[in-house]
């Protein structure tokens, strides 16, 4: 009996020693949830009297980015106005990771907005700031807060204070009316900058965000114009015979890449804006169009049908070498380069029609981001996290957006008429 007891003791001892090593246990976490980050943006205290609901604008901004999932206001038990009033356990129970609270007060010089951002699970205050805004700057102030919150959480600069340009059209034939608009990145606060009874196309932001280049048919022949947004002054840059299309500003803002057919088929040209000096970039019997600058300004991407169907090519401006970049499918066009220069967004025709797709230049892997079909004219946000594009809804052109990783998509509020050719502005001062 005694021997048996010793044996059992040894067995138990072995089990114990093996379990004792569990102290050095490391568990591998290789997968995450598919959901966006839950956040609660509590309505700002005393904000009811303001014409704009700051907290709503912030929540919508964050939601539109695709990375946040704002908590519905009805689910909030409590409406704290500052970090002192926050009972973290309450928000933690709602599985909210971040919490934005704020208070609004009217001052002589405008509206003062004090807001704070908290990490609920860590029970930490990440951000606290007071913003003063004029009565007509409340949306801008809200977008500013969105930018700060976004950057504090993701380490990526927010692009909610940027703007978009787009073209609208109404009517057909002789009664057709075209207009060039700019609006906040959320589609609100739109302004008309040009109206014409002839088509307007391809708006392009100057790198400093003060000018737009576009193509107008107002002289019954397409011509490229550059228009100063603040003053409305504009200048005709090119009106060569044939097509004058797709202007694109160089990163330093001194040159304009464009597609001209004055020498035959459309080819890519560069114009130095100060001297109006023109330099031909591509020489090809096929159609070369839709130039887009690499962020370093050393190369141009463009669409060419030289291989049969439209594909994206890259032209090195120093060596003159040209290289085909897209090989997935028979239709890839209208490329735009992400700010990091490592990713391009383009229109790809797949099984479900024309979609916005992303291609990583490092591995040439093409990923389709949208499912709607009929996507056209993608334009990437200056922080690279979102892409805006034109699509069709109920026979009308509307603007859609998708996050760069394809996780979130959104629609911009419908403007009147057919909306097309969105162009996302650079970061604005």
């Amino acid at each position: 009996m005694n021997v048996l007891k010793t044996t059992w003791l040894a067995a138990v001892l072995l089990a114990w020693t093996s379990l004792a090593q569990a102290a050095d246990l490391t568990i591998e976490i290789t997968r995450g949830s598919d959901r966006a980050t839950p956040i609660a943006v509590v309505p700002f205290a005393d904000g009811e009297s303001l014409p704009q609901d700051i907290a709503r604008i912030v929540a919508d901004d964050l939601e539109r980015s695709g990375y946040f999932e704002p908590l519905a206001r009805e689910a909030m038990f409590d409406r704290p106005a500052s970090s002192e009033e926050v009972r973290f356990g309450e928000w933690s129970a709602l599985d909210v990771r971040y919490l934005v609270v704020g208070r609004v007060s009217r001052e002589a010089d405008g509206v003062r907005i004090a807001y704070e951002l908290m990490d609920v699970s860590g029970q930490r205050r990440l951000l606290g700031e007071t913003v003063t805004a004029g009565g007509d700057e409340l949306r801008g102030a809200a977008h500013y807060i969105s930018d700060q919150v976004f950057e504090a959480i993701t380490d990526i600069r927010g692009a909610f204070s940027t703007r978009i340009a787009y073209v609208t059209s109404r009517g057909i034939g002789d009664s057709a009316a075209y207009a060039l608009h700019i609006a906040d990145a959320d589609g609100r606060n739109s302004q008309q900058v040009l109206a014409s009874d002839q088509p307007i196309m391809s708006p392009a932001w100057s790198p400093d965000g003060t000018k737009l280049a576009y193509v107008s048919f107002e002289t019954e022949r397409p011509a490229i114009y550059v228009q100063e947004l603040a003053s409305g002054r504009r200048a005709k840059v090119t009106a060569f015979e044939g097509l004058n299309s797709a202007p694109a500003w160089s990163p330093d803002g001194r040159r304009l890449a464009m597609s001209l057919s004055k020498d035959g088929q459309p080819d890519i040209y560069l114009m130095t804006l100060d001297s109006r000096e023109l330099r031909r970039v591509t020489r090809n019997p096929g159609i070369d169009t839709e130039p887009a600058w690499a962020p370093d300004g050393r190369s141009l991407l463009f669409t060419s049908d030289r291989s049969g169907g439209p594909q994206i090519y890259r032209h090195d401006l120093r060596s003159g070498e040209e290289e085909r970049l897209t090989f997935t499918g028979s239709y890839n066009a209208r490329a735009r380069v992400a700010p990091d220069g490592e990713t391009i967004f383009l229109i790809h025709r797949g099984g479900n029609g024309f979609q916005v797709a992303r291609q990583d230049l490092a591995n040439d892997r093409l990923v389709t981001l949208t499912q709607t079909g009929n996507a056209e004219s993608p334009s990437v946000a200056p922080n690279g996290t979102m892409v805006i594009f034109a699509t069709q809804q109920g026979g009308n052109g509307v603007l859609g957006g998708v996050s760069a990783d394809g996780r979130a998509s959104f629609r911009l509020p419908a403007a009147q008429g057919d909306v097309r050719e969105p162009a996302w502005s650079p970061f604005l001062q």
Partner: protein, 370 residues
């Protein structure tokens, strides 16, 4: 190779000379007697001519002898007939006595003449033989002289050839020597180079050895360090084991007290292991569900979070053990742990092992990000 060819060229004349000498010996020793009988038949005319000049006083006899010899030589019968005819004429002209004497005399004369003729013929033959011999000797001599001359010439030629060869040989030797000299120099040069290389090699070797030595030393040090660490580790393990043993003993004592039989305690241990595995799985699942990976995370991002739990699985502390370098990523990991807590499953573990699972690490590393 050239030398060998020349040797072959030398051998042929030598062979010819030996053959010639042998031929000469053969001629002098063997062919002379053979020639002797041949000579008279050819030299008969000469011999006759010499005799006419030198033997005028014996004209008659010679004539007779000649006739007789000719007759004898031609046919003995003719000579006999002539003699018989002369005898018959003498008999007819002279008296019986005279005739007898005359006949006797004739007979004597005939005999004498025959004798004479025979002697002359013999002398003649001897003379001819002698002459033939002389001539043969002369020819032989001439031949010898010719041969000697030829031999001399051959020798001269051979000598010349030898000289040429000697010269060629000398030339060859000179060239060979020059060549040898060149070779010697080349070899000397090569030797020098070899030595230089050997020196360099030796130097390299010395360096290598020095390095190897240094490497050995380093390795030895590293080894020593490893050993120290291993010992320290072993010590730690020993202590851990001792601790575990103590704990186990204490626990087993407790268990002993707590449970009724040994079989139950083993079942408990197995249960504990199973519960531990399921606890790990539950923690992983809960954290993965709670982890919201932030946007634009680089592929290699990795963060390690150290987790401490309270006795009932509540989160005591979650701290970044190893940062990813991306604050958003680090925070997402912490938040995942905080959101997944409390880990109440800890209480399902056997009370004895719960302590061991109240501290662990979580390594956050997304496998595939879109």
């Amino acid at each position: 190779m050239a030398r060998h060819e020349r040797r072959v060229g030398y051998g042929l004349p030598l062979l010819l000379a030996v053959a010639l000498h042998l031929a000469i010996v053969a001629v002098t020793v063997i062919r002379f007697p053979e020639r002797a009988p041949e000579a008279p038949s050819r030299d008969i005319v000469q011999a006759t001519l010499i005799r006419t000049e030198t033997t005028t006083d014996q004209a008659q006899r010679a004539q007779q002898a000649r006739a007789r010899a000719a007759a004898r030589q031609d046919a003995d019968a003719d000579a006999a007939e002539q003699a018989v005819a002369e005898q018959e004429a003498a008999e007819r002209e002279a008296a019986e006595q005279a005739a007898a004497r005359q006949a006797e005399e004739a007979e004597r004369q005939q005999q004498q003449a025959r004798e004479e003729a025979r002697r002359a013929a013999e002398e003649e033959a001897a003379r001819r033989a002698e002459q033939a011999e002389r001539q043969a000797r002369e020819r032989e001599e001439a031949e010898r002289q010719r041969q000697a001359e030829a031999e001399r010439q051959r020798q001269a030629e051979a000598e010349a050839e030898r000289q040429r060869q000697a010269e060629a040989e000398a030339e060859r030797q000179r060239q060979a020597e020059a060549e040898a000299e060149r070779q010697r120099q080349a070899e000397a040069e090569a030797e020098r180079q070899r030595q230089a290389e050997a020196e360099a090699e030796a130097e390299a070797e010395r360096q290598r050895q020095a390095e190897a030595e240094a490497e050995r030393q380093r390795q030895a040090e590293a080894e020593a360090e490893r050993q120290r660490q291993a010992e320290a580790e072993a010590e730690r393990q020993r202590q851990a084991e001792a601790q575990a043993r103590r704990a186990a003993e204490a626990a087993s004592q407790g268990l002993d007290r707590a449970i009724e039989g040994e079989a139950d305690s083993v079942a408990d241990a197995r249960q504990a292991a199973e519960a531990a595995n399921s606890f790990i799985t539950l923690v992983r699942r809960a954290v993965e569900q709670a982890w919201v990976i932030p946007p634009n995370v680089s592929d290699g991002a990795r963060a390690e979070v150290s987790v401490r739990l309270g006795p009932s699985g509540e989160l005591f502390a979650a701290t970044i053990e190893q940062s990813s370098g991306n604050s958003a990523f680090d925070r997402s990991a912490l938040q995942a742990v905080e959101a997944a807590a409390p880990f109440a499953e800890l209480r399902q573990l056997p009370a004895s092992v719960q302590r061991d699972y109240r501290q662990f690490n979580l390594r956050f590393q997304p496998g595939e990000i879109r």
